[in-house]
Symmetry: none
Subunit: 247 residues, 2 copies
Amino acid sequence: MTQIANAPAIILVAPQMGENIGAAARVMANFGLFDLRLVAPRDGWPNPAAETMSAGAFEAGVAVRVFETVETAIADCGLVLATTARSRGMEKPVVDMAGARARILATPGRAAILFGGERAGLPNEAVTLADAILSYPVHTGFASLNLAQAVAVAAHGWAEGRSLPPAFDAPVDEPATREDLLGMMEHFEAELDRAGFFLPEVKRGVMVQNLRNAFTRAGWTAQEVRTFRGAIKALAVGRGKARVARD
Amino acid sequence: MTQIANAPAIILVAPQMGENIGAAARVMANFGLFDLRLVAPRDGWPNPAAETMSAGAFEAGVAVRVFETVETAIADCGLVLATTARSRGMEKPVVDMAGARARILATPGRAAILFGGERAGLPNEAVTLADAILSYPVHTGFASLNLAQAVAVAAHGWAEGRSLPPAFDAPVDEPATREDLLGMMEHFEAELDRAGFFLPEVKRGVMVQNLRNAFTRAGWTAQEVRTFRGAIKALAVGRGKARVARD
């Protein structure tokens, strides 16, 4: 997999649980991030629990480097963002994820996003080294995200606005023409007329309008129109048969 | 905690692991979503593993209801979005998270977002019941998100836009690397130590923090760092000369 230009490094500072490191790696690969840096991971590295939770992300290209200090982890970076929900009493620009993406795209150097460990988040010394604070619009009183969830938000946020999976590029089926759609609606209305549905006659106009609005809003494909016309025919024939049977 | 108007319900269809249900609940509460619905959870409900991973989200207000079918789970909804990375050969509008937020905000009724279980995602029958497909810009070849991570992206996406606007500044010169900046700060601090600036010693920490915050905030260019280090050197040399001259 190719690294997209400007893709930021994800730096986990003193992470504790291997499960979270693995889950972070997985969601990084989901959104095209492949530079994972660990500062003093509690349980060392490699970590079997991380491997399990990664769902193959390391084999898929997520590269892990371990550092002893935040300073060495960010040495090659031109932009450093620190994630925290608390201001720390520091004079520092605060951006949301859209703002972070804009800053990352605007920086000519390597960008990195710092995430603190499970227990206490980033230490003040690490936030001090960042150009800006990245914060999420969390709910007051329940502001603490799981570490891997915080990485998920950043990974998606980084990728947001890019194209959706190529599976969605090709139209599934040829769209119905307006002639197809009108033919279908007229067919439906003709059968409803024969069934005595549009009575009293004075209400016909508004009833047709309601049905045509609903049908038109649905954006039918040619195949769906053919299927529905078959269904109308079956109902009409069935109704006729039923009437014959009753007679 | 108060439910924000239009906040969508999150519906997990045949989820398997309690850990993922709990992690989903936690990140829902993080972003102000409190309506969690489970369709046929494999291990039943309540689930101790979910409780552990929720970090108190259920006590914080996330309400869980269990349903036997998708049809009953979405019965009260006016808008239903189905998350999937595969087109399923269905003619269905496809939106990204920003598009989903716009649709949710525009709908007068209750909205819901469907997520499939860990093994196979949503069944086609569930996708068919949705107004639109919600998809994320995932990386080709590594498109499968962890269930709780997928919920995290949606929960943040729903809340996005509710934080401070970013401040931008475009660099005019090559940015300094973090190594350049750290070298500059350490150089400055070393000269201040020699000058007896950090006295009393007990205040050194907060003084260094203040200086490093100011320096780091400034977005130095490589040239500015070179200039400033020249200035430090000149001051240090000058001070030495002055002392010599006084002696």
